[in-house]
């Protein structure tokens, strides 16, 4: 990420800083004198309001005399609300490495941090930097309907155990960057199960199936045979449905 060291940052009077949690001073005793600012945009680069920016300072570790990794600081986290022009600013930050992500409304948006690589930002004391525009994608729901007429699929119990692991079935999508998103089981009806996953609009994704069962696509092609495989699908649009069938 290209990073701008802004000695005199532009003012962002419309940005409202909201700390949703008490930020506990960290063990390093670093002064809270650094700032970050930037904009939140959609896939087309247009500003997005009505969103939050989550920042997360990495926990710090050191190796002790025996080489064991010991936590020095848990880091801390906070949220700022995005202004109507898509701008945000977070002040009074301590030095450290930060992950900064835009988060919108659940079910309507997907953070760029969940869909593409968003590198962390090192921040030194007294530094004010502008981060690259943070992406916030509008999402559609991709439904994956699995015809399972013999109820071959066995779902995990509440502890995550599957009595016959070969009969597991999990599915998710892989975006262009390689990011994987697991689909959740949305509905179970007689002979079929429907999984759903939110996918950014106008993104081509691939299915990632994990199952010991033989799974076929709608035209009969084998999606997986005793293991797992990838299957390309068309661009995601709102309420797109893919049908799979268990042999």
């Amino acid at each position: 990420m290209k990073r701008t060291k802004a000695i005199q940052p532009k003012p962002f009077p419309k940005a409202v800083v909201v700390f949703l949690m008490c930020v506990t001073p960290i063990a390093t005793g670093t002064a809270y004198s650094a700032s970050i600012y930037g904009r939140v945009v959609d896939a087309l680069g247009q500003p997005v309001s009505n969103a939050n920016v989550h920042y997360h300072q990495f926990a710090e570790f050191r190796k002790d005399a025996s080489g064991k990794v010991v936590q020095v600081s848990p880091g801390h986290a906070g949220v700022v609300k995005v202004g109507s022009d898509g701008s945000f600013r977070a002040d009074a930050l301590s030095a450290g490495t930060y992950q900064i992500c835009a988060v919108g409304t659940e079910g309507q948006h997907m953070s760029g941090c969940a869909w593409e690589p968003v590198p962390s930002v090192p921040l030194t004391a007294d530094q004010t930097i502008e981060v690259k525009p943070l992406k916030l994608y509008r999402v559609g729901t991709l439904a994956i309907r699995v015809i399972d007429s013999r109820d071959s699929i066995i779902l995990p119990d509440r502890f995550g155990n599957i009595s016959t692991p070969e009969r597991r079935f999990f599915v998710g999508v892989v975006g262009p960057s390689g990011a994987y998103q697991a689909a959740r089981l949305a509905r179970v009806a007689a002979g079929e199960k429907t999984y759903e996953v939110n996918v950014p609009e106008e993104q081509e994704v691939q299915l990632f199936v994990d199952s010991g069962l033989r799974i076929r696509g709608v035209s009969g092609e084998l999606v997986t045979s005793g293991a797992r495989s990838l299957k390309a699908v068309t661009s995601a649009e709102r309420l797109t449905e893919i049908v799979l069938r268990v042999d």
């Binding site: 920042y55 997360h56 190796k63 986290a77 949220v79 941090c113 968003v118 998710g172 697991a182 994990d210």
Partner: protein
């Protein structure tokens, strides 16, 4: 009698029962049973098992066989097979001349002629039992199991109330050598314990203890009560180390009226009992295991020894070696081995195959440990940079998480390391698991090498019949803050071939005869809350002390769960606590591995927390171990083996015997101890390498790591 065979009861060929005063077939009631045919064979009076039997018959049936000692009848006898267990019931009556307290020796062999050897499994009083006074009468319980402490009551009948003495000896044979041997003298109300030529005395006033190399006797729980000529000596006994064989218990009584003979009154069932005390031995110089002078590498040994001879010194029970680990109850060993010669361990040859010489040395180590009574091993590959020489740490400028960055790479890791602090790449935080740079193909060895190596280690362990208990294949992982570590669960490679690392490792466990889900990385040590009792729930609902442990569980669960830094707020100075208003980082920013695995059946987390006062250390320990039990119950993992490591029992780093005792006591007060102590293993840490070792080897681990307290 029940006989278990992991290959199934049908694999059992012959079982034997020998009833006699001692392990001799002559003048014994010595019975063999051939499972396949149901044949019962009674050996002749001479004890010639290969000669003409005294009699035979077949089960089921109404036949019988008789010798001078006993009669075995088909009526009332039976056998059945259920899974891996063969149960045999024999209807035996004894001749009047064959009387007194007799020992039951039992053995079995399988189709490959592998034998259990004779096991002392009990004592049976054949009527008429000895009369007269003074005389030992009974022992309760007659078959203590484990190593104690167990209050055992010895009932005696005296001829006089003057000068009464009761003497007890526990051993495989009637010998004071290597025995737990003590006597009680009523006039002085004193118990004396024999210890390699000297006697230690203990006034029986309800407190204090005495110990020998083999056992301890506690004043608390010990007493003498007498009513007329009858007396009961109650002794709270603990075996310091579980002997490899079950122990017989002989008792004699004396008073002014005379002395009794020794009477066998019970069997202390210690054979094959795992003490649950293991030792964490840091790096093992496997390349030099038999090399002259290599003993000098280990603190406490010398250049006059090889590493192998040093291992013998440290583990083989020998009264002349002070603090011998096996004598202290250690029955398991964990050690590291480097992958590229970092510390005298070079498992691969120039072609990348597992070196035959290295594998041979490893097998020799396992064989030696097994012969010294070490039944469990945990060999952990070193995945840190010191696994090889510094030249193998290669800086390379790569694209990681969308930026160009220089990282350090080593051939055995599928990801890069920060060039300054050396930690795994976390350039894009939680997404690093998926999107951080992979080790360039010209550097990364690939997974097959790793799999072949683990397969070889397991194969050698199986060959030498040592157990693998909670195989920690990656030391102290933290998949919360360093999600790339989850590539050791499932190496997701969106641009190429993904590898189900845990899945393959589990298959290696199975193919080598070990339980699949007993292989799992250990979790990194928890943070230090202030105060020591500080605790809260994390995003997952378990204790925030266990965040790294639960993250690992989530990484194993695949699409069913997510891991990485969860939403939290910081409390107690270091804990990442959660309440419903916590939104940052968002759950949507956590990641999943795309492949499901069932939860591991072992839980391995390391802890080495010390607070300024022992009271705080104990409080923390109780809180931590309570949290483990809550986690196991919450996750349906209450049958898991639980392993703790890294707590040093001696003066080293932040540890000393006092705070280590506080840590152990904290565990003893925990719900984990009260609910699952039979599945909890302690692996105190000890560095053996000269230059790094705090103490000479062998050192004192017990106390405070007394196996009986686990």
């Amino acid at each position: 009698m029940a006989f278990r065979d992991p290959d199934g009861a049908s694999d059992i060929a012959v079982t034997n029962l020998l009833i006699n005063d001692a392990l001799s077939g002559a003048s014994a009631c010595y019975i063999a049973f051939v499972r396949a045919s149901g044949l019962v064979l009674l050996v002749n009076d001479a004890g010639d098992a290969g000669g003409t039997p005294a009699g035979t018959f077949v089960l089921p049936g109404s036949g019988s066989a008789t010798n001078s000692q006993c009669t075995v009848s088909g009526i009332g006898s039976s056998f059945n097979q259920n899974g891996g267990v063969l149960t045999l019931s024999l209807n035996i009556s004894f001749s009047s001349s064959f009387s007194g307290n007799k020992v039951l020796y039992v053995a079995a062999s399988d189709g490959s002629a592998t034998s259990t050897g004779w096991q002392r499994l009990g004592v049976y009083g054949v009527s008429p039992i000895p009369t007269g006074s003074p005389m030992p009468v009974s022992m309760a319980p007659a078959r203590p199991i484990g190593i104690g402490p167990v209050p055992v009551s010895f009932a005696v009948r005296h001829a006089s109330t003057a000068s009464r003495v009761v003497t007890v000896l526990m051993n495989e044979w009637l010998s004071a050598t290597s025995a737990c041997y003590f006597g009680y003298h009523e006039p002085s109300n004193t118990l004396v314990l024999y210890d390699n030529g000297t006697w230690h005395s203990l006034l029986l006033n309800g407190s204090g203890s005495v110990e020998s190399q083999f056992c301890r006797v506690y004043g608390l729980g010990s007493s003498w009560t007498a009513t007329g000529l009858a007396g009961i000596l109650r002794v709270n006994i603990e075996l310091k180390a579980p002997p490899a064989e079950n122990q017989l218990v002989w008792v004699s009584a004396s008073d002014s009226g005379g002395s009794s003979s020794w009477q066998t009154l019970g069997t202390w069932m210690t054979g094959n009992v795992t003490s649950k005390l293991e030792l964490n031995l840091s790096a093992m110089p496997i390349d030099l295991y038999t090399t002259s002078g290599s003993g000098a590498l280990i603190s406490g040994c010398t250049s006059a020894q090889t590493v192998r001879q040093c291992i013998q010194k440290l583990f083989q029970v020998n009264p002349s070696v002070q603090n011998n680990w096996r004598s202290q109850g250690v029955t398991g060993v964990r050690f590291f081995f480097t992958l590229a010669g970092g510390y005298h361990s070079t498992p691969f040859d120039s072609a990348g195959n597992v070196s035959a010489a290295w594998a041979s040395n490893l097998q020799l180590l396992f064989s030696d440990l097994r012969s010294y009574g070490i039944t469990t091993i945990t060999p952990t590959p070193v995945l840190d940079t010191w696994s090889g020489p510094p030249a193998m740490v290669i800086p390379r400028t790569v694209e990681t998480c969308g930026v160009t960055k220089t990282l350090n790479f080593v051939p055995w890791l599928p990801y890069g390391l920060d060039t300054i602090q050396g930690f795994p790449d976390r350039t894009c935080d939680n997404q690093s698991y998926q999107l951080a740079a992979r080790t360039p193909s010209d550097i990364f060895w690939g997974w097959d090498r790793f799999f072949n190596l683990i397969d070889t280690v397991l194969n050698k362990a199986q060959t030498e019949r040592v157990s693998v208990n909670a195989f920690d294949y990656y030391q102290e992982t933290n998949m919360t803050d360093f999600t790339v570590m989850a590539r050791f669960i499932y190496d997701y490679n969106p641009g190429g071939f993904s590898t189900d690392v845990l899945g393959v490792l589990r298959s290696k466990m199975v193919s080598n005869g070990y339980p699949a889900a007993q292989i799992i990385p250990s979790a990194n040590i928890p943070p230090s809350p202030t105060p020591a009792t500080g605790n809260c729930s994390s995003y997952y609902g378990d204790s925030a002390l266990l965040l790294t442990l639960v993250s690992q569980l989530a990484a194993v669960a695949g699409p069913w769960a997510s891991f990485g830094v969860p939403p939290h707020h910081t409390d107690f100075g270091s804990l990442r606590c959660y309440q419903s208003s916590d939104t940052s980082p968002s759950p949507s920013l956590m990641v999943s591995t795309p492949v499901y695995h069932s939860p591991a059946t072992a839980t391995d987390i390391h802890s080495q927390k010390v607070y300024p006062t022992n009271a705080e250390t104990e409080q923390y320990s109780t809180s931590f171990h309570n949290s483990i039990w809550s986690y196991l119950a919450y996750r349906g993992l209450t049958s898991n083996v639980v392993v703790f490591g890294e707590t040093n029992p001696v003066d080293c780093d932040v540890w000393n015997p006092s705070n280590a005792t506080a840590f152990v006591n904290g565990y003893r007060f925990s719900t984990l101890h009260s609910n699952a102590s039979n599945r909890v293993y302690m692996r105190p840490w000890h560095r053996t390498e000269v230059g790094f070792a705090c103490n000479l080897s062998p050192h004192v681990v017990n106390p405070p790591f007394n196996p009986l307290t686990f």
